[in-house]
């Protein structure tokens, strides 16, 4: 057998699987978003009609869609910077030559990343409990009033942000730590010889050296945050007062609760468009800042 034929044969099973179970569904979803595919179509495919962009236009008229968009943006805009700040802070601590027991601390801080999201979300429901939760118990020591975290429309999404930061910061921490370790030591030495203080070194050596990695980390984190679903599903069922309904949650409800698969597909593509748009904007801004 010639190597070139072998190459195709070795790659073929994976490529076929990706084509059948990924590429075809993506195309099908795009087509479906231009139809009125619903529970009647589910029973009999002859009931499907082409409706053009109607699903997309109808979305614009739905208050719940705007609500979901706002909630998702809130989660992205607040959650991503907060999460990366915690990752960077802990990575800097772990990178410090003064830190002891680095292996232990690294494992401890990373542990939430490998836990099961649905399970820890259940744990957090009780940690956030308005009466018996340990969060409010902690607040009481600070002289603060208890917060009905998951029952108050203003606090439910911030509570989910907290859970998500706790669950995910270790991931970027490991990546940023590797980035910090890759910065050549003579850069620091040169800055110290020039008499730069710790703050100046951080701003003029650490951050610029880490910039490409920070961009990549923020792109990945952002795309992850756009896909928020399990936390609201498990903890709040989209409530209270629809303040934790996210775009993906809306897709799930439209598609798998009400079986409006056409409109749910449109929601999925709106999400995709926003993720793509945000990534492009962020990459462009980063390039411009980098060029300066």
């Amino acid at each position: 057998m010639r190597p070139s034929r072998a190459g195709w044969l070795f790659a073929a099973p994976a490529l076929v699987a990706i084509a059948v179970f990924f590429v075809v569904p993506v195309v099908a979803a795009l087509l479906m978003s231009t139809t009125d595919f619903d529970i009647y179509a589910l029973a009999d495919l002859r009931n499907v009609r082409f409706v053009g962009l109607l699903n997309y236009l109808r979305l614009l008229e739905r208050p719940l869609f705007w609500r979901a968009l706002f909630n998702t943006f809130f989660f992205v805009v607040v959650g991503v910077p907060l999460s990366i700040a915690v990752s960077l802070g802990t990575a800097l601590l772990l990178h410090s030559p003064l830190a002891r027991l680095k292996g232990f601390f690294r494992t401890a801080l990373f542990a939430p990343v490998v836990t099961t999201l649905a399970a820890v979300a259940v744990v957090w429901i009780f940690l956030l409990h308005a009466r018996y939760g340990l969060f409010n118990y902690g607040l009481s020591f600070l002289g603060l009033h208890p917060i009905d975290w998951l029952g108050d429309p203003h606090w439910a999404m911030p509570a989910i942000v907290l859970l998500s930061v706790w669950k995910n910061f270790g991931y970027n921490m490991i990546i940023l730590l590797a980035g910090l370790q890759a910065i050549p030591g003579d850069l620091y030495e040169a800055a110290q010889l020039d008499g730069a203080g710790a703050g100046a070194i951080f701003r003029h050596v650490t951050i610029p050296s880490l910039a490409p990695m920070l961009l990549m980390v923020s792109l990945l984190t952002m795309s992850g945050h756009f896909q928020l679903f399990a936390e609201p599903y498990v903890m709040t069922q989209g409530g209270p007062a629809e303040h934790t309904v996210t775009v993906l949650y809306l897709m799930y409800e439209d598609g798998f609760k009400w079986w409006s698969l056409g409109s749910a597909s449109a929601v999925a593509f709106v999400l995709f468009a926003f993720m793509l748009g945000f990534s492009l904007i962020q990459a462009r801004v980063a390039r411009r800042v980098g060029a300066r």
Binding site: P3, A14, F21, A108, A118, Y137
Partner: protein, 273 residues
């Protein structure tokens, strides 16, 4: 700032961060051994007054959760085996075997990473419904067959396999399959472990797809059943904590045992930009 003080501050900050991070997990374990109702008192207790296994017994005896443990284990193991089979051979092909259109195809695959998997879920569900695979293990396994990430991971590692070894084996008259199985695979051992751990943990922890495709209690996985139980048992904190421990503990232990391999995969995966 003098060094001893700076050192103390750095280590105190780390200790504090670690305590805050581990606290929810520690409380989960502690509350799972509390008597029913004990956690719902004020001030909230940190440790069980008289540790009991009652919650675990209830989960296994009354709720038959062993079934879901087995489902999770079975699906995750099978997903791991499938993902290894598909991704190892493809990753090796993209790294070491020349074939027409290879580079362009690989760029196309990486481009597909930008599409979120959730976009595929609605048509995929319909497809599986047509094939009669809803509420079956096979339905849950479909997304785990091959992944762009897995292929990428294996390819990056396989690029380091020296071409001379493969040429020498070919000169000796070994077929391509034979070379792959007995020359290449042993060299790929570290990345095999990495891909296996990543896939197993990813599949075990997965929520949205199993929630969609497994609606029948008998085939559901632990995270899905736990989410359903927590809606029915809003008051039973201790019972739910036992369920959370059963779900989280296996993956946490697996991670602790194979940490090195897991973190390698994370770092390779992160430079894909």
């Amino acid at each position: 700032m003098r060094r001893p003080i700076a050192s103390l501050m750095v280590n105190l900050a780390l200790l504090l961060a670690a305590l805050v991070t581990l606290f929810p997990l520690a409380w989960m374990v502690s509350a799972s051994f509390m008597a029913p109702g004990e956690a719902s008192t004020y001030p909230p207790p940190m440790l069980p007054q008289a540790p009991t296994l009652a919650n675990y017994r209830l989960l296994f005896a009354e709720h038959g959760i062993l079934r879901q443990v087995a489902n999770s284990l079975f699906i995750s193991l099978l997903a791991t085996a499938l993902s290894l089979t598909f991704n190892l051979s493809a990753g090796y092909a993209f790294a070491k075997l020349r074939f027409r259109g290879r580079e362009r195809l690989f760029r196309l695959l990486l481009g597909a990473l930008i599409v979120p998997a959730q976009v595929t879920m609605l048509p995929l569900f319909l497809m599986l419904k047509e094939m009669g695979l809803v509420n079956t293990y096979a339905g849950a396994l479909v997304p785990w067959l091959a992944s762009v990430f897995g292929i990428y991971l294996v390819r990056q590692y396989a690029l380091t396999v020296p071409g001379e070894i493969l040429e020498a084996a070919r000169m000796d008259g070994a077929g391509e399959l034979r070379i792959f199985l007995s020359v290449v695979l042993p060299l790929l051992k570290p990345i095999i472990v990495t891909l296996a751990v990543l896939t197993f943990l990813g599949c075990w922890n997965d929520f949205m797809w199993p929630l969609i495709v497994l609606t029948d209690h008998a085939v559901q996985t632990l995270p899905v059943v736990l989410a359903a139980l927590s809606r029915e048992h809003v008051q039973d904190v201790e019972l739910m904590m036992a369920g959370a421990v059963i779900t989280v503990l296996p993956v946490l232990l697996l991670f602790l045992g194979l940490q090195r391999y897991y973190l390698r995969g994370l770092l390779v995966g992160s430079v894909k930009g």
